[in-house]
Subunit: 452 residues, 2 copies
C-alpha cells in the first residue's frame, strides 16, 4: 500500500514519534509489564485475523508479538493496514504478560510509525529455513543476514574470536597489528594479490608470519593478532575464500611445536566450555552439540606418516606423497572420531621458516590441526638461527636480499619460538557444523565475488 | 668474543639447559625467593666490578639483576665472560631478596646458556632514552621496539583497543569483519590503493563505512570493528601513515550525531579510568598524567562556525572556508584547554552518506572529535533514506550504479543510524602525548617505507 509514496514522502514518516520514552529491546519487554514501552525493529511477520492484526517485531535481541486491535487507536489501525514485512517500525504500547505469546509477553499497540518502508523482497527472510540459492543470498547479503540462523552464527563467531582473545590475554600475549601491505611473499611467491603502493609494487599479506616473528624478537615474546589475510587462489570451493580472518599466535621461549599444540588444545577447551555456557540459546538455534565436536579425551597426535598408514590400511586411501588432500583430512577425522593433530610434515611442503626436526632434518617440527574434517590450524616451531634461516631461504631458491628486513632481526638475539594460525571462519564452520565458509563470512571475497 | 663463531657453532648453544624447571618471568622472581629459578630473556646491561659481573636480564615482564661471582660455578664464570648486550640467555640460580636490586630480588647464577648471540648493535637499546633518528629506529624496528618506553606504549595501545572493545560489547555491539578488498571508493575517489583482484581492478578499503552501515541494516543494529584501513595519501607528516587501525562503530535506531558523541564520551571516560587503574606503571614510565588529557567537565561541542569565530577572535587565525586545518585543530584544543567536538560540518567537506541537518541542509549532522590538538574521530548520522542517498551520490557526480550493492540495501527497511571511526594510533598518540603516529605503529607504512 505504501509503495505509492517515495520513501521521503511516506505520510507516516517521522509523524507522531514518542521520543521521550527510551527504546526498549524486545528482550527487555518483561521489565515493562503493565506499562508503556517504546520498541523499534523490523516487521518479521504479519497475521490478520478478523479485526485483530498480529505483528511479530524483530530486533537484535529477538522477537515480540504486537497486537493491533480495530477497537484500539484509529491511527494505529490505519498504519498497520499498510504494513509490509521488513518495514522498520517504531511502536508504543502496553506490555502484557501472555503465556501464549513467544517470549511470554505481547504489546497492545497504541502508536505505530513506519521509519522505513521495505520494497517487495527478492526472497522471504521469515521462514524457519532460508530457502534461497547461495548466489541470491550473497547478492542480497543484507537480507540473508537478517535470518535468525545467520544472526546466531555471527554472534557465535564473535564469541569464538573473543574467547581466543581473552585466553591469549590471560596467557600473557599482547595484541599486535602487523602491516597487510608487504613487499615480499610470506608463504612463498604464489597466490599473492599485487597492490600498487604509490607507484611501487607491493602485495597483500598472505599471513602476518614474518612480522609476528619479528615482534617476538622485539621483546614482546608472546603476541597475538586477529586480522585479515589474503590468498589469491583461483579456487571456488566451500572451504576457500580469498580474504579471511586469521587468529595468530607467536610465542617466544618455546622449544617445540608440542608446546604450541598443548596451548591450542587448552584454548579450544576453554572456548568450547564458554560458548556452551554463555551462548546456549544460539547453539540450540543452530542445532549444534558443541561438546561433541571436541571429545574430552586428549586430541590425538599422529605424524603425517602414521596418518598415511592409517588411511591406507583402513580406507585404502591414496594420498599425495608427503601431504594430505581434503578427502584425506575428512577421512582422518572420521577414523579418529574427532579432531587430530598431524605432525612431522616434510620440509618440502612447509615454508622456509619451519624448524627442521633435530633427528630427521627432512621433516619439520610443525603441525596441522584437523577439526570437523578440515585443516583449521597450521603451526610449528620456527627457525630462530640467522644462518640456518638464511640457508633455508636460499635452499628454496628465494632471494635472501628480499628478506633482509626479516633476516636482519635474527642477528640481535632471537629466542627460540613458534606459533600458529587459525582460520577464524574455518574454526567457526568446524565447530558449528556448517557446510560452507561463506556462512561464517559477512561479505565473502571469492573467484566471482567482489561485491557486495 | 663469541663473534668468532657462527651462531650455529656457538659452544654454549643448547649445552647444559635445565629444562625440567618451568620458566619464571623476572616479575615472578619473588615467588622463588631462596630457591632455584630458571629465567630467560635478553641481556639488557653488563657491569663488571672486580670479580663480580652484574647482568641485567630483560624479559617481557621487566628486569632483574643476575650476579655472577668468580667464586661461583666455573662454567657460569666462563660463559658470562663472553656475554654481550642483547644476547638471549637462559640462566638458573638462587633468587635472593636484596633491597638494593631493582625489583627487590637478584639471582645468584648457577648456570648460564646463550640461546642466541647478538651481533654488534646499530644503536644502544638500554639507554634511558633511545638516542637514534627515526629512520634508523624504523629500519631496525625489532631493536627500537625493545626499548622499555616502546614496550609500554604498545601495551597501552593494546589496552586502549581492549577498552574500546569491552565497552562496545557491554553496550550491545557485535564485532564484525568487513572486506578490505572493495570494488568502489567509500570516502570519495581519491587516495585509493589499487589491487589486482584476479585480473579485476579493486581497491583497498579507505574505511569500513559502507559495509558497517549494511551490517546495521542486516539486523545486527550495533556493530563494531577493529581493523586496518588504507589511505594512499602522499603525505609525510607526523600525523599520517598510509595503513592504520580504525575503531569503528555503527549504530542503528539513533536520531542524531549527538547520541554518537555522548556514547563516545562515555567510552573515553571509562577507557581513561581503566588505563589509569590497570596500567599505572606503564603510564608512569611514559610520564603521562592521563586524567589531564580528558578533564572531568563535559567535552564542549562547538559548531564549525563557532570554532571559526573563536579562532579568528582569539588567535586571529585564518582558516580554509568550511573546514579546519592542522594548526586550527591544535589552537582550538589549546583555547578550550582539552578535547572538543566540532559539529555541523558543511556537506561539501563530508562524504555523500552524511545526513544533512533538518534545519540547514547545506550542513551535516556530523562531528569530529579533536583530542590532543588533532582530529582523532569522525562521525555523524548517515542518510538512511534510499532516494535521498541516491540523490546525494548523484549530486557529487558519483555513479550510483557503482554503489548498487550498497544502495540496494536501503530498499528493504533501513533504520536511522549513525556512527564513528576513531584512529587507534591517533587516539594512542593523543592520550599518551606522543609526537608521531609512528611511535604507536609497529611497522609504519608511509611515503618512503614499505619495509620492514
Amino acid at each position: 500500500m505504501h509503495e505509492q509514496y517515495g520513501q521521503d514522502q511516506h505520510p507516516l514518516r517521522d509523524a507522531g514519534r514518542a521520543r521521550c520514552l527510551p527504546r526498549a529491546l524486545t528482550s527487555e519487554a518483561g521489565a515493562f509489564a503493565g506499562r508503556t514501552a517504546r520498541l523499534q525493529g523490523w516487521v518479521h511477520r504479519i497475521r490478520r485475523i478478523g479485526v485483530v492484526t498480529f505483528v511479530l517485531l524483530r530486533d537484535r535481541s529477538g522477537l515480540i508479538q504486537l497486537v493491533v486491535d480495530a477497537a484500539g487507536p484509529a491511527a494505529a489501525t490505519a498504519a498497520v493496514a499498510g504494513l509490509n514485512v521488513e518495514d522498520v517500525i517504531e511502536v508504543t504500547g502496553i506490555v502484557n504478560a501472555d503465556a501464549r505469546a513467544k517470549g511470554g509477553y505481547e504489546v497492545l499497540v497504541e502508536t505505530i510509525v513506519v521509519l522505513s518502508a521495505a520494497a517487495a523482497l527478492p526472497f522471504e527472510v521469515n521462514l524457519p529455513q532460508l530457502k534461497v540459492g547461495q548466489d541470491l543470498a550473497l547478492d542480497h547479503r543484507v537480507l540473508s543476514l537478517r535470518h535468525p540462523r545467520s544472526q546466531a552464527i555471527f554472534r557465535l563467531k564473535a564469541a569464538i574470536i573473543k574467547a581466543f582473545r581473552d585466553f591469549s590475554g590471560a596467557e600473557g600475549f599482547i595484541e599486535v597489528q602487523t602491516p597487510k601491505i608487504v613487499a615480499t611473499a610470506t608463504e612463498g611467491g604464489a597466490n599473492l594479490f599485487p597492490v600498487d603502493y604509490l607507484g611501487r609494487r607491493a602485495y597483500l599479506a598472505q599471513s602476518p608470519q614474518l612480522y609476528k616473528q619479528m615482534l617476538v624478537l622485539s621483546g614482546f615474546e608472546r603476541v597475538y593478532e586477529v586480522g585479515p589475510v589474503y590468498r589469491a587462489e583461483p579456487h571456488n570451493t566451500s572451504r576457500h575464500v580469498n580474504e579471511f580472518t586469521s587468529l595468530d599466535w607467536e610465542i617466544g621461549f618455546i622449544d617445540s611445536a608440542a608446546e604450541v599444540m598443548a596451548l591450542e588444545e587448552t584454548m579450544l577447551r576453554q572456548l568450547v566450555a564458554r560458548l556452551s555456557t554463555d551462548h546456549a540459546a544460539d547453539l540450540a538455534a543452530i542445532g549444534v552439540e558443541l561438546a561433541a565436536r571436541l571429545p574430552e579425551r586428549p586430541i590425538p597426535r599422529l605424524t603425517l606418516g602414521e596418518a598415511h598408514a592409517l588411511l591406507q590400511r583402513r580406507r585404502a586411501k591414496e594420498l599425495p606423497p608427503g601431504d594430505l588432500d581434503p578427502e584425506g583430512e575428512r577421512l582422518l577425522c572420521e577414523l579418529v572420531a574427532g579432531p587430530v593433530f598431524v605432525t612431522a610434515w616434510p620440509a618440502k611442503v612447509r615454508p622456509a621458516y619451519a624448524q627442521p626436526c633435530e633427528d630427521a632434518p627432512h621433516l619439520t617440527d610443525s603441525f596441522d590441526l584437523l577439526l570437523g574434517g578440515m585443516e583449521v590450524t597450521t603451526g610449528g616451531r620456527r627457525i630462530s638461527d640467522h644462518g640456518a634461516l638464511r640457508a633455508s631461504l636460499e635452499n628454496r631458491g628465494l632471494d635472501p636480499g628480499a628478506f633482509d628486513f626479516y633476516l636482519d632481526a635474527f642477528r640481535y638475539g632471537a629466542p627460540p619460538h613458534g606459533g600458529l594460525a587459525i582460520g577464524a571462519e574455518r574454526l567457526t564452520v568446524a565447530l558449528l557444523g556448517l557446510s560452507n565458509l561463506r556462512e561464517a563470512t559477512f561479505f565473502p571475497r571469492d573467484l566471482d565475488r567482489l561485491t557486495p
